[in-house]
């Protein structure tokens, strides 16, 4: 860079001289300088980048190539940006691949490289684009900037909590598009990023792949979104990656699948195509073929029925592994209230129950919302039994489907802020869903909450301690005023985040508060209470006002013996945790009042409920073989080993 600097320096000096020495400059000489000074070229808001809408196996079918418009930032070759960096290191072959420079003018003008399986630079571009898009979607839903996982701030031997970064902090998430030879992709806190694998397609039944071809998980839009969601969730909820019950790992998986599946419904071409081929019944597992089979078996490809791409997840991956179908599906599960009770379900299987509950609710709301459209359409002589939906009708349906998907996705994401801090169960997630939606949208004209409750009920997902299956009973109760002190000086800050000083201030304040009110907050006196996260959230209320909340996680770890009568046999860490929603009251008499806890969602270790939790966790540890050894790492969710899927 020295060359450039040299070139720059004299220019500025010259400019200064001109201004000082010659008050009336030569117009011909200064014209360009003046214009560029006054009318600055605006920084672009978005950077268009091409990528696959699904994965390479879909070919160019209904616009499988799409252009994502992601938030613009200056990029170094990699691409390396502020919060994510693509570093193409192959751990199996121990080599780096050439990085793409997305700021190269010829790529800037062409929306990046065109989709290609054989050019690793396109792979890097796609991973960058899709991860950026996912972050954007989550930030829009949460109403705040997300951050990645940070190490827990625990006091050292002297009881002091050291300032500054910790070794495990993830400042920037690294994305490794070709990290490993494995039919797998995984978010790994240890590698501070996401590892994407590549592998050979099955030689026997590779679906639409060539037998033995190399399949890249980093080219599957679904897989990228899924893994990014793991990373985002891990940043929001530190202890959701601690294995404490069968639900925890399953929840991580289900949530990641939900995020990946809802994204499908924002894809207009795919949506329109599916609506046409299902007569508007988006939830059908198979699409009608383009051409009808007149007699016997299909003879041309247009007569082959295709799977509905909207409800299937990771088509190419699933096919390449020889299953002949998508890896997972939004609606693979028939509602069976007994299945959830089986403790031996593998996390993805268990997660699939939650996924299908959410999508059951989604399709129910979609049908409710479009019922009138169908009525009008039929009254006008339209036939919904055939695929021949008129263009405008299909368009309206697509809009409704995409809008509903957006709403449901937001509900699912916002509910995270209303979940307990530790040991999440599906039933508690339902409570969080209902509470958060009622909190944000008191009136529910689409009947979303009812649809969710019924869908969960049909699958036997019920909160342990709710009395009735009704909104009132499922909602966490609002904390009565005066039951806990207010927060006098809590800084809610700015939607773009808190400054370092503000964070330190809030951290200290919250820690002091936790100690002073330990038992009311659901903790025992004595052991350290950590504050793994506090996030201000800015959300638009239905009346157009901005609602400001601070979401705080608190947790306390206690070592519990495997067997209270045989403490020598070892212990396992159990946590009590609480989520606090502190709201900033509206302006009154020219002042803001103190922050008030609206919701306190506790998960205790004491009392009959706590005992039950302990017992459950013991049993879980036994089943999972977590009794062996004393390595605390064994309780952490290993996304890489979690099944051979992703």
């Amino acid at each position: 860079m020295p060359e450039n600097e040299k070139a720059k320096v004299p220019e500025t000096i010259q400019g200064a001289k001109l201004a000082d020495v010659a008050p009336i400059p030569n117009p011909a000489k200064t014209k360009t300088a003046v214009i560029s000074d006054i009318i600055e070229i605006p920084t672009p808001a978005k950077r268009p980048l091409k990528c696959y809408a699904f994965d390479p196996s879909q070919g160019t079918y209904f616009g499988n190539e799409m252009t994502l418009r992601v938030k613009y930032e200056k990029l170094l070759p990699g691409p390396i940006g502020e919060r994510i960096a693509v570093i193409d290191y192959d751990g199996q072959n121990k080599s780096f691949y050439k990085p793409v420079d997305l700021d190269d003018p010829s790529l800037l003008i062409g929306c990046g490289l065109s989709p290609s399986q054989s050019d690793p630079r396109f792979h890097q571009q796609m991973v960058y684009a899709v991860v950026s898009e996912t972050i954007q979607n989550f930030e829009a839903a949460l109403g705040r900037r997300i951050r990645w996982r940070l190490d827990e701030r625990v006091p050292d031997a002297q009881g002091v909590i050291a300032r500054g970064p910790r070794p495990g902090d993830i400042k920037r998430l690294n994305l490794y598009p070709h990290a490993m030879l494995s039919a797998n992709a995984a978010y790994s806190p240890a590698a501070k990023g996401i590892l994407f694998g590549y592998f050979r397609a099955s030689s026997v039944n590779p679906g639409r792949n060539i037998p033995g071809q190399t399949v890249f998980t980093c080219l599957s839009h679904d897989i990228i979104v899924h893994e990014t969601t793991h990373a985002i969730l891990d940043g929001i909820r530190t202890y959701f990656s601690e294995r404490t019950s069968p639900d925890v790992a399953a929840f991580h998986e289900a949530f990641a699948d939900i995020a990946a599946l809802f994204r499908h419904f924002s894809h207009k071409e795919a949506l329109l195509d599916t609506i046409q081929k299902t007569g508007g019944k988006l939830y059908q597992y198979q699409l009608q073929p383009d051409a009808l089979v007149t007699e016997g078996k299909p003879t041309i490809q247009a007569q082959q029925p295709k799977d509905n791409p909207l409800v299937g997840l990771a088509q190419q991956f699933g096919e390449a592994r020889g299953s002949g179908k998508a890896l997972r599906s939004a609606l693979s599960e028939l509602p069976d209230p007994k299945k959830i009770k089986d403790p031996s379900l593998e996390p993805h299987e268990r997660g699939a129950i939650l996924v299908s509950a959410v999508f059951d609710a989604y399709f129910t709301v979609y049908l409710r919302q479009t019922a009138d459209l169908f009525r009008v359409f039929q009254a006008g002589g339209g036939n919904t039994e055939t695929r021949e939906l008129s263009g405008p009708m299909a368009d309206l349906l697509a809009k409704a489907a995409s809008k509903t998907a957006n709403i449901l996705f937001k509900i699912c994401v916002r509910a995270i802020d209303y979940c307990p801090a530790v040991d999440i169960t599906f039933g508690e997630y339902l409570r969080a869903l209902i509470t958060s939606d009622r909190d944000n949208h008191p009136s529910d004209p689409l009947g979303i909450r009812d649809a969710l409750m019924q869908a969960f009920r049909l699958r036997g997902i019920l909160p342990e301690d709710a009395q009735y299956l009704s909104e009132d009973s499922l909602c966490w109760s609002v904390l009565p005023k005066d039951s806990l002190p207010v927060f006098e000086n809590l800084i809610f800050g700015d939607p773009n985040g808190l400054t370092r000083e503000e964070k330190n201030h809030n951290g200290n304040l919250l820690r002091r508060y936790a100690i002073a009110n330990a038992s009311k907050l659901g903790f025992s006196d004595g052991p350290f209470i950590s504050i793994p996260s506090f996030h201000p959230a800015f959300r638009l209320a239905p009346d157009g006002s901005v609602r400001i909340d601070m979401v705080v996680e608190m947790a306390q770890a206690v070592d519990v013996p495997y067997d209270p009568k045989q403490p020598d046999l070892g212990t396992f860490p159990m946590r009590s945790g609480s989520t606090l929603l502190i709201s900033k009251p509206p302006l009154k008499d020219g002042n803001y009042g103190p922050g008030q806890i609206r919701y306190l969602i506790r998960k205790r270790l004491e009392g009959p409920y706590g005992e039950r939790r302990q017992q459950r966790q013991r049993e879980f540890n036994l089943r999972e073989g977590l009794l062996e050894g004393n390595d605390p790492k064994r309780f952490e969710l290993d996304f890489n080993m979690l099944h051979s899927g992703f």
Binding site: S202, K338, E464, L627, E628, M641
Partner: protein, 500 residues
Amino acid sequence: MTTRKTTKSAGKRKTVAKKAPRAKAGRAEARTSAKGLKIRMYRVGFGDFFLVTVPTRSGNQYILIDCGVFKGTSGTGDIGSIVEAVEDMYKTTKGRLALVIMTHRHADHIAGFSKAERFKDFTAGMVWMPYWEQFNDAKDSPHNLQFDIQELAHNLAMQFGARKDEAAKEALAQLANATGVEDFSAAATGKKKGGGNAKALDLLKNHLGANGKKVRYYAANDKPELPPELKGLSAKILGPPPKKAKAFMALTDLKKGVGQYLDSMTEDKDGPKALQPFPNEWLADLESDYPHQEVVDPVIDYEQVKKNVEASQPDMLAAAASKIETFLNNQSLVVLFEFGGKKLLFAGDAQAGNWEYWLYKGDGPEKDPTKAGAMVDASKELLQTIDFYKVGHHGSTNATPIQAVEAAVSRAKSSKGFVSMCSTEYGVYGNRDKGTEVPRDPLMKALGDGCSLIRSDSFPIDITSPKKKTIKPAKGVNTKLPKPKVGKLSKAKLYIEYSF
């Protein structure tokens, strides 16, 4: 079965009655006294070799439960006494075994059948094997479950080739235990692929089991068939869990996962080589192609990146090996014998998934969430009334659930207690610092506090082959035999025996 009318028949009891003849005897099926019932644990190293003497009316009958040994991770598991121990058993039994039980097909439970030529002279009334063992028909049959495992284990072991790390060592040991192949590199060059386990299984099924005619396969809740000579003894099968599609699915998944990995390797003259996804032209020069780490804020430490990615490579091989290990252990046949009012529990190497089935009626959790994790009353009662327990999986934590120990040792003060035998060899597996040592100290302590526990490695043993030496007892182990409240323990050159 016919019920005997006569209650006294002195002549039939001659082998048992050394002292005064019993005043009364029960009906033929249900004996009221267990006098003369013996359980013998041979010290063979890391492996199970148990001989039960059943004093039936027609004389002593013998049940052999497993006969195996394995060198383990340390390579010291096989102390070299098994052939001699089989000879000893031949002398005791005159080569006639009423029943042979193979709990599962791990070398540490069956190697003796291939190592000791003497087995050719044995005959058996019946052979029991776990349910899963029948899915081993032939190469191309759909029921070739066990064959698949064998094949998978072999392929995996080959891939480990040059690896020398701890995880690889452990995984190789697990695979060797599963196949009975002690040296995979030698097996690769040789023609034979079967390994010691194949030979042992052949002997069990074809020689002792008379080409399958005398072989019975059982899973939990099956009513087992006892050979007629064991009249008076009853048996209950508690494990393995009965066939569930899920278990098969798990194996199919495993095969797919491992298969994918194996598919992606290509054979090179230097051994297996990984698939390279892009031609060499795409390889980057870190210095010139990537932004210098100083330019990036926050900086990127590329060396650290390399380390992180390499450390995160999934150890598919090790994971698969350990899955196979658990899969086989959980096939273990768990048998409860009852004779003369005494209950003997032999748990094989059953791990959580197997125990869970009968301990918690594991098909689903309790409807009442307050009872989640609670043991089924019947199982609790059973554990509190057993008189003998064969410690599962050589004393590792994963094989004797703490709740089970807890239930077994928490008995009424008036209880006569029970005896546990743990066949194990110290220092063969695991690491004390990591809390994974086998046998696990705290478990041994908990059991030892609650019952009379004897370990097979608690007494010295003189070995003559391959060379003369004395194998010492494990350090810190009580070498004195405990005094059980019922019956007595005695020591011989090669074994410890518990007699009622």
